[in-house]
């Protein structure tokens, strides 16, 4: 056993890709391997034994220090940008009583992954922007054809042109979603906040999807608690979040189903619930619901055109307003989507 330990230690010390640091209960540096020393640009010998409050002057340590100094630290992950050529992901793991309350910090180099991520986002942005010109051309031409700007058309011709127009509008929506996602990833999203009325935004949403609701014979109800306060928010974005949540409820609720929106509030926040009797989300897929490009297994068969971006966008909008978003769902029975928005924004 001892022999094995002797063999393993040099491996961890110098041949390991990840940086490893161990801090004592008192937050003195107990162990540091050479990749970690390289990442943080410190000399191992000098740093060993020193307290985090001394080490935090070194760039990179600062972020780690914040968490070490907390009393009951939980496992934590954080991205640390040392410089533009070195981005690390730090996993901070408390080792517990068996290890005398030491804390393990693993530093993983994610620079390349981050770069690829940025390139992907840039590529989607470029592609989406490039697509907007041809789809605008299609939109304008079709509209003018249907409006008989180029001469009379027959009823059958009109019917088919209207269909192409609708399909093109869906394409425009997909491209808008992709660009919204890009803006979220680039952190350039929210704009000015003004006073908004949540109930009204839900009514807008209802009107927007009225046709589909009627067609499917879905029962719709909105329950609003008295004196629902108005809040300050980015109206356009909150409307978008509501539309995305509401659209899912409409899409995935089968004929003769029911959608209930309830709006409540307490002193601190407005709490919104959108409940449907739809197909629900299978339990084993629930953890991915808010991640981008997620599509539920049943969802794909019901609606082939969704982008899997709606809830990703909704979550980002709500969280950017310091709200919370979550859901409960049972396959075959329906889903309840909740979100909160603080009444007073800082």
């Amino acid at each position: 056993m001892l022999k094995q330990k002797k063999e393993i230690l040099p491996l961890i010390n110098s041949d390991f890709i990840d940086g490893i640091l161990i801090f004592s209960k008192q937050n003195n540096l107990y162990f540091i391997n050479s990749p970690a020393a390289k990442f943080l640009k410190i000399k191992s010998k000098k740093a060993l034994g020193k307290n985090i409050s001394e080490l935090e002057k070194a760039r990179g340590f600062k972020d780690v220090a914040v968490f070490l100094k907390q009393k009951n630290i939980k496992e934590y992950e954080k991205e640390i940008e040392i410089n533009e050529n070195l981005i690390l992901k730090a996993h901070i793991i408390p080792l517990g009583k068996k290890c005398q309350e030491k804390t393990l910090v693993v530093l993983h180099n994610i620079t390349r992954a981050k770069r690829v991520d940025i390139m992907k986002t840039d590529f989607i942005s470029l592609a989406a922007h490039q697509l907007r010109t041809p789809i605008s051309t299609i939109k304008w031409t079709l509209r003018m054809l249907v409006d008989e700007d180029f001469g009379e058309i027959t009823r059958t011709q009109r019917k088919f042109m209207e269909r192409i127009y609708k399909t093109n509008e869906k394409t425009i929506k997909i491209i808008d979603d992709l660009l919204n996602m890009v803006h979220i990833e680039q952190g350039t999203y929210l704009s000015k906040k003004k006073t908004i009325d949540i109930e009204k935004l839900f009514k807008n949403s209802f009107n927007f999807f009225k046709k589909d609701i009627k067609k499917k014979g879905i029962e719709f109800e909105i329950r609003t608690q008295k004196n629902l306060p108005k809040i300050k928010a980015d109206q356009e974005k909150i409307q978008m979040a509501i539309n995305n949540i509401f659209e899912n409820a409409v899409k995935y609720t089968l004929e003769k189903g029911k959608i209930i929106v309830s709006l409540k509030h307490d002193k601190k926040e407005i709490k919104v619930c959108v409940r449907d009797t739809g197909v629900g989300i299978p339990f084993n897929q629930q953890y991915r619901v808010f991640s981008k490009f997620f599509r539920g297994a049943r969802a794909i068969t019901i609606d082939t055109e969704g982008t899997g971006l709606g809830l990703f966008i909704a979550r980002n909008i709500i969280e950017a307003h310091n709200g919370r978003i979550w859901f409960k769902s049972q396959q075959g029975k329906g889903s309840e989507f909740y979100f909160t928005l603080p009444i007073f924004q800082n």
């Binding site: 922007h129 907007r132 509209r143 003018m144 700007d149 803006h183």
Partner: protein, 123 residues
């Protein structure tokens, strides 16, 4: 007398489409294929309104806009941006430079664009 509208748009088909629509409404339409051409036509023709694309070969729409707005004699001419850039910064930049409206091409039909033009031109 008919009002004059200058359309600065590098995509030939889009320019023709919107030109046709606008001239049908009784306006005189002048087309320009890029930023430089646009500024030249602007100075020569003194239009009543400019419909301006942003991504143009050579000097871009933002530059055209700031040149129009810095010309003492002509700076009052209303400008509507008609572009496919729709990011917050682009819109803010356009409005700060003095654009009267900002329309994203894919979000407006030709008729809606006409409505916007009339709203600005009759103001």
């Amino acid at each position: 007398m008919s009002k004059k509208i200058l359309i600065i748009e590098d995509d030939k088909f889009l320019r023709e489409l919107i030109s046709q629509k606008i001239s049908k409404q009784g306006y005189i339409v002048i087309g320009a294929i890029d930023g430089e051409d646009g500024i030249e036509e602007f100075k020569k023709e003194k239009p009543d309104l400019v419909l301006l694309d942003l991504i143009l070969p050579g000097i871009d729409g933002f530059e055209v806009l700031s040149q129009i707005k810095s010309n003492a004699e002509l700076s009052k001419t209303p400008v509507i941006i008609l572009s496919n850039l729709g990011q917050k910064e682009d819109i803010e930049k356009g409005v700060n430079l003095g654009a009267d409206d900002y329309l994203i091409k894919a979000h407006f039909t030709p008729n809606e664009i006409i409505e916007k033009i009339e709203k600005v031109i009759l103001k």
